[in-house]
Symmetry: C2
Subunit: 713 residues, 2 copies
């Protein structure tokens, strides 16, 4: 929660200043109130901004009725926030003035920085350094500004505010100014109350992640909408997403730049980092972010949040005036993972007594008969409320409650009273534009959709959110308790060393030993027990199979000796690893370091499944046990682990534990760039699992004296 | 094409009568013009129906200003179409009167038939038989009626016509009356011209498939929208879909009843057949049906067709005022399978000279700079038209052309002239409601969407349609030339017989022979060549592996003898099949008989892929070679056929030929209920493929004397 700004004179938190400044200086103010330097002053004036507005420009005495100051220094009182609306080349000197004045936060409109190429990027880096040195937080450059409609703080030059907007409980944080404006305009058409806005611009300092957290903490905010092109600071995003989840403030996000041409355009547009889309999707899922496939879908979900629509779970009651509409909604519910449980048989019988042609199982089809007997709707609805166990209701009235005046009023009033008395969330699907029924529903805050599929999609987004939230909060607790102390780099150049390292950190590996001669190999094999595998042991060789460096299933001393000779002949290397033969289902596990989010852990079925079918599950590390279990369940081939086709069930618990431990390694050993366990051999239930081969790639250290050394790790 | 109705007195085609009757009798007419028996008369009167309206009721002398007849017989002239709006129990006598009067076509509004249960279903069956015997075509019962807005023929009681609708080139054929009305209402809000309507009701006679074909053949129709709950006559649908495709009249369909609860509701709603959703999706794809995931999506696509938007292919030029909007549209294009090709480098350089900050590769981001220099939009657009190779353009203007009056007019006019001169289809994404720019675009027939993702989805639907249409027409030619003569049932109780049958019909099978003793088995093995497989041979045993009935890789006479003994001991059967050992990649092929569409052919990768991962492709049989190739490409594991992980590429051509021949069998041998080839062993390129095991299940014949015999087949 943001507190009320402190009284004038007392320093303000720089982030509080961003949405609740007591005084705003607009540097580069213009008497042209339709220009970038004039519009925010006019907007704030017209919106009744409660704080003090200080236009700053040497060219004018007044702007929009406010005294204009030739320079920031001449302003008599403190300035909580400064808008910098000057040409890029003048921005540094203006920023310097802000630092001198003690301004805690600046919003830089000026364009001509990183978005224009290397020179602009260098200028932007200097600006960021200057702000940091001066202790000033900076939004932009190339930002469209910020706003807080709740207090008339309209520090933006977006043209959407040429039309009135209504303050409401939704916040928008956007990495595209122009598209952000469009979202505001689209939201306005849909009746959304977007009360808070931050356009992040080029993110020289404050970036999307941090701003999301701050918007989520604002006392007026009930949901944060984020338009994401690419994050610079994955950690800040993770922290903010967790904060939003803890505050029960849904974070709704549209992430663009998923495709090749989209990423190409995003790169030229914002120059943001190119973290993989798979990593974003994984993080969104782990953090309870409501990822929307389209802006429309995000706005639909936001509309529900604004209406206070918060289902406790996924059990949906469907009522319909049209059998066809019921079928369609039931389909959509199932395809979005909602449940449409049947009503108890006795209730179905009672409904059939009332309307013999009705559909009574759920969807409940009260048919056009209600046009003749409007009270039937209420009877059916009450029966569902009383005897069904539903978390939310979707009611389809087609065009009728909009077209038939009296009927519409009756139906709308019944719906409103049922919603109030039951406390259950309702969504209507109907055409109500301009009708009395529409007004009644709107006034009661019951959202109405035209398209049933869109209604179901939005309900599903929030139902899944509601169901996952407590689970995710529990998971955070498990990972919060982790030892996160760094693990120092260790030699892991060979399979032998890599597996030894994994064993020291709690992963079960195959019994094995190194050998430098055929005699030694046979001796080790006898100790380990036959059959064994022999593998060439060399830091230079990563793909052992292709060069004849692996011999499997060696049943006796003779076979080991022959295999040793063959491997030595094929590879020219006399060191081998003697390893027990492990059996079971082959899985692969791995760690990767994402440029945005850092350590990611993955799992998949071995063989062709991961490589050809791309059947892998990815998560941000560390993961808790429930998340590791979810990763396995995500695999198309999960049934194989459960023991399909008559096979024994695998030791899934052992795999989960292994994934969890591996993910902890990813968090603690930052020097691991990539780690492949391939295969992990999984035994039957209770039989554990063994790392049968592993390869660790250490972080490349570009400043090392031997430029080739990193390749050798 | 429907011709103009013949002059009065000359008999009319019953289907022509459905949309273009010269005279309409409304039996059960009412002076209450808001009742089911009054509304169609009022609607037709108010819409200026050109034909003669005959209200029929013994209770009135006139209805809505028209003379009312006590009975059908009293009507002086011929009646092309009769609306039956009486209670269900009176419907048979009224139908009899229609037959006596020589009415070619009736539309039955009456409810209380199959939708109410077994008794109603029996009454409906009698009504259908009566109509058939009398030579009358019948729509309904429980139909909401038909309409043709082009001639004021509003033979429906849908309340949506309480508001004006505009005639247009779209036809709607719906299996739900109420949901059909809603689609009409939604379409009206979107400015769609839905000119033709048929509500199929319970489909006692005329059903969806046939009506789609007739609607597609109407001279006014440019697209048919279909709301599908379940087909009764798959063949009629296939024929109509082909007719629509040949006429370049897109058939847009929403199919509901996909989910468990949806199918449950559909069954109770219409009592239609429960063909599998996978079969519908396969048929839609093969017939070029534009399957829409939601009604909104269907209406969006219809809006494009109505505007004459017809891209020649999938190459999309994107222009945007917002970098973010460009990224979003590029993403959507790729996810919907559209191409966003880059502009030539020289053009990019020229654009950069004009606006240094512009995005120039495609999407082309002309930036907010056009607010200062509006002519830049035209320059960029002309460059794209001249030097790019695009099939269609999507232009994102955010809210600006709606908010900024003069600017909006300039941009809209330039877009209209570019579209006209180039002949290329354009779609705008913008908020234009109530603006001058919006009017200019609407008048020029350039469709505008608010949400970019919806615009891209609709463009993609038509682009794929346009690209697939000529290919599908070619495919029809290949399958049209097929020999479709029936193949008489043959004995196929065992694997041996099944494979012999397949071999006779052109499929390559393993070399093999039956043997009744160990000596015979070794002799056959020697002829075939080692190694061989031995399999128990019995019509009683279908799952051979589970009971120890299969021994593989028998390398010599001793092994065969031992295997024979083991199989005989395990199964008690002394007949075995001696078969060559085939090697290669394992596929499965199959035939299934869908209750709606009849023969379906499927393929998948063997082993766990088909069974556990459900990675199979399905099509209606027969298929041509291109479709068979497409089936293989649909498989997630297709890369295995192409030779992934260093393996040799498989003989894909041989598999395609095998699928084609199998599909022909499905068409010709109607007695095959199900056929499994598992596995098909596929050799390296040029090495062919072999059916290594097959099982054929013959159609169950319930009227056969021995009730158990079908199970034994």
């Amino acid at each position: 929660m943001t507190d009320t700004p402190p009284p004038a004179g007392i320093p303000i938190n720089p982030l509080t200043a961003l949405f609740e400044p007591r005084s705003v200086a607009v540097i580069g103010a213009s008497q042209n109130l339709h220009s970038i330097g004039g519009r925010p002053i006019r907007y704030m004036r017209d919106a009744g901004f409660a704080g003090i507005i200080y236009p700053v420009s040497p060219r004018y005495d007044e702007v929009a009725g406010y005294p204009c100051y030739a320079s920031l220094a001449e302003i008599p009182g403190p300035v909580d926030l400064a808008i910098i609306a000057v040409a890029a080349k003048r921005a540094p000197e203006v920023l310097e003035a802000c630092i001198a004045k003690g301004v805690p936060t600046v919003v830089v409109y000026s364009s001509g920085f990183a978005e224009t190429g290397p020179e602009g990027a260098a200028a932007q880096a200097r600006l960021a350094a200057q702000a940091k040195a001066g202790g000033v937080r900076l939004v932009g450059p190339n930002s469209m500004g910020c706003m807080n409609l709740h207090n008339g703080f309209l520090a933006t030059f977006s043209t959407v505010f040429e039309r009135d907007h209504v303050a409401g409980p939704l916040a928008l944080v956007t990495q595209s100014g122009a598209y952000g404006s469009y979202i505001l305009a689209q939201g306005r058409e849909l009746g959304l109350g977007l009360g808070l806005l931050a356009s992040t611009g080029n993110e020289a300092d404050l970036e999307l992640g941090e701003l999301i957290g701050f918007a989520a903490g604002n006392r007026e905010t009930r949901a944060v909408l984020a338009y994401v092109e690419g994050l610079r600071d994955g950690e800040a995003f993770l922290a903010s997403a967790q904060k939003a989840l803890e505050a029960a403030c849904p974070l709704l996000a549209v992430k663009v730049g998923r495709s090749e041409s989209g990423a190409r355009a995003a790169l030229s547009h914002t120059g943001s980092l190119a973290g993989t889309d798979a990593a974003y999707q994984a993080v969104f899922r782990q953090m309870g972010v409501v990822a929307a496939p389209t802006v429309d879908a995000m706005l639909d979900t936001a509309r529900l949040v604004q209406s206070g629509f918060l289902p406790a779970g996924r059990r949906i009651g469907l009522l319909t005036m049209s059998g066809g509409g019921g079928v369609l909604m039931a389909d959509d519910c199932e395809s979005y993972g909602l449940e449409v449980p049947e009503l108890p048989a006795a209730v179905q019988v009672r409904m059939k007594e009332v309307i013999p042609f009705a559909g009574v199982s759920n969807p409940v089809d009260f048919t056009a008969q209600v046009l003749n007997e409007p009270e039937r709707y209420g009877e059916f609805l009450d029966l569902m409320l009383e005897h069904g166990d539903f978390d939310a209701f979707i009611v389809f009235f087609a065009h009728m409650i909009g077209y038939a005046h009296e009927f519409g009023i009756t139906m709308a009033e019944k719906t409103v009273s049922a919603a109030r008395q039951s406390g259950k969330p309702f969504v209507m699907v109907a055409l109500t534009a301009g009708s009395a029924a529409g007004e009644i529903l709107d006034a009661a805050g019951i959202p109405t959709f035209q398209d049933p599929s869109r209604a179901v999609a939005a309900v599903a987004a929030l139902a899944h959110y509601a169901e996952r939230r407590p689970k995710l909060l529990t998971r955070f607790e498990e990972t919060a308790a982790l030892d996160r102390s760094p693990i120092a780099p260790e030699p892991v150049a060979t399979e032998f060393e890599s597996k030894a390292f994994l064993a020291r950190h709690g992963l079960a590996i195959t019994r094995e030993a190194a050998a430098g001669s055929a005699d030694e190999a046979t001796a080790r094999a006898a100790e380990i027990g036959f059959p064994v595998a022999l593998k060439v042991l060399s830091a230079e060789i990563q793909h052992k199979t292709e060069i004849g460096g692996i011999k499997l299933g060696l049943a006796d001393v003779e076979a080991v000796r022959a295999a040793y000779d063959a491997i030595e002949a094929a590879t020219g290397v006399s060191d081998v690893l003697v390893q027990e033969m492990a059996s079971g289902l082959e899985l692969i596990l791995g760690l990767k370091r994402d440029p945005v989010f850092g350590p990611m852990v993955l799992c998949g079925l071995g063989g062709i499944h991961a490589e050809v079918m791309r059947d892998v599950a990815l998560r941000h590390a560390p993961v808790d046990h429930a998340t590791a279990a979810e990763m396995l369940q995500d695999l198309a081939g999960y049934a194989l682990l459960e023991g399909s086709r008559g096979a024994e069930p695998c030791d899934i618990q052992a795999v989960i534990e292994t994934i969890v431990r591996l993910s902890h390694l990813g968090t603690r050993a930052a020097w691991i760039e990539e780690l492949d366990v391939n295969p992990l051999m999984v035994g039957p239930r209770g039989g554990g699992c063994l790392v049968a081969d592993a390869l660790i790639v250490r972080e490349r250290t570009p400043d090392v004296s031997d430029p080739g050394s990193a390749e050798n790790l």
